[in-house]
Amino acid sequence: MANVLLIAEHDGTNLNPSTAKSVACAANIEGAEVHVLVLAADAAGVAAEASRLDSVAKVLTVSNPANENALAAVLAPQIVALADGYDYVFGPSTTFGKDLMPRVAAMLGVNQISDIMSVEGSHTFKRPVYAGNAIVTVNAPEGHTVVATVRTASYRAVGSDNAAPVEAVDPGVELPTHTRFVELQTGQSDRPDLQTAARVVSGGRALGSSESFDIIYALADKLAAGVGASRAAVDAGYVPNDMQVGQTGKIIAPDLYLAIGISGAIQHLTGIKDAGTIVAINKDEEAPIFEVADIGLVADLFDAVPELTEALD
């Protein structure tokens, strides 16, 4: 048997979809028994959600006011205290997991495997390197806990027809106070979440201003799509950072991705490799985005996008 401790990501109220995708990865390990650990101020609601996830054998909860915000320095010692007896400790490769899991790994005295995209054996995994330009097969050392993050875009969320038992646990460790949460600014939006949306419309530098981005939003709303952006559009201040797609932004896998006025730099493409259908609208027929697009249209976006929005009526 292989015991997997999976660290749940949540916002205090809801489980983040990255957890259900990470469960799907963990379940691919032969003989896996997956336990989900919820660290929260009050873990009950999130734990109830986690207990419904298929392939989960048990949900462990730690309710502690210190866990109100996900601070790696506070969460890591609790995870390490509870990791005893587990062969694997997994988290999602979101900013939450990327921040937290290496700290856990180092405290356990092991290296970490980042961004698992497939499980090839009990200690063998595939992961992307060089912005996804190479896929490397890695072997974790036998006889040591395997700490890893899961590239969530490589997995489909497990279903939620389960009723796994929930158990409160006490890590019994002292927590540091050297790291303090101040505030979180989020771009409130009623649009589908970029990381889980079935359709995503992204705009690039070509939009030229945040006002011009309105045509992207209008098209996205017609398609009930989430909205993303290239780094250039974020850097120029047209849209907030949480909309960046790519190597250093979000790695997404929608069924439909529309890249509008985006050239297709490798750092951007690595974020959309798993998209079902990629549509590109660009006025330069030589733009590298056309090398990966399933449907390409050479056009001025300021004509084509409003026309497309209209045509979708």
């Binding site: 939450f96 990327k98 790994a105 330009n133 006889g143 790291t179 979180l184 449907i295 249209l297 045509a311």
Partner: protein, 249 residues
């Protein structure tokens, strides 16, 4: 504070189209342009600005890697770092060992702030800063887009999936740089000349008495699966038809 330590990794330049070797043993690096990992350049720029504001007195750059990494350290000195340390090691060193090297230098030098890039664009690991914070038992402020030092604390804004998170950490601490933290300065010719006179010490890994961690073995490299060739449409109505044909709208 006295000293800031910055890591500079020698990595394949971000403009290079990386190719996997035909025998699957790695990626082609012969004759390929090497540079400072872009995130590390941003980390160094931030450290220099902290020093220039009078909040620190010395910036030390550290590279762990082959002898050639001296080039990247010289660039760092030309940008304005005060001195450099090269810890000569096999390029395949794992992140925990790198973190232990940083920790050894932190102890030797009495460093109060370490600024690293959030990830290296070769292995894309995004681990070393967090691991250093763990082995040092100090705070970590990863993916920073804004840093303000205030006496013995640092206030750091972090780029997270939900937006921008601000945290406060006590020093000593580890900060890792995200892309929007700053725009690194350009190096001018006189700076390159001056950098030649700045101290660059070389240490062997063995000098630091670091215990090697259980290694992750990279057994095979392959190119990613290619996407199937797509179609070009002439106009918006062609695009709508193509989307309908695929059942997407």
């Amino acid at each position: 504070m006295e000293k800031i330590l910055v890591g500079l990794k020698r990595a394949v330049d971000y403009n290079v189209r990386v190719r996997v070797k035909s025998d699957g043993s790695g990626v082609e690096t012969d004759g390929v342009k090497m540079s400072i990992n872009p995130f590390d350049e941003i980390a160094l720029e931030e450290a220099l600005r902290i020093r220039e504001r009078g909040e620190a007195s010395e910036v030390i750059v550290l590279s762990i890697g082959p002898g050639d990494a001296q080039q990247q350290l010289r660039t760092g000195l030309a940008m304005g770092a005060d001195r450099a340390i090269l810890v000569e090691a096999d390029a395949a060193l794992d992140a925990l060992d790198r973190a232990r090297v940083f920790k050894a230098i932190v102890d030797r030098e009495g460093v109060e702030l370490v600024v690293l890039g959030k990830q290296a664009i070769d292995d894309d690991n995004n681990q070393t800063g967090q691991m250093l914070a763990a082995v040092w038992d100090r705070p970590q402020a990863t993916f920073a887009s804004e840093v303000a030092i205030d006496g013995n604390t640092a206030r750091v804004t972090r780029e997270v999936d939900a937006g921008l998170e601000t945290i406060e950490v006590d020093l000593p601490a580890v900060i890792t740089a995200d892309l929007r933290l700053n725009d690194p300065r350009y190096v001018k010719l006189p700076d390159i000349m001056k950098a030649k006179k700045k101290p660059l010490d070389t240490l062997a890994l063995a000098d630091l008495g670091i215990e090697a961690s259980p290694a992750i073995e990279e057994t095979h490299f392959a190119p990613p699966e290619a996407r199937q060739k797509g179609i070009m449409v002439d106009d918006v109505s062609g695009l709508v038809t193509a989307l309908k044909d695929k059942g997407l709208i």
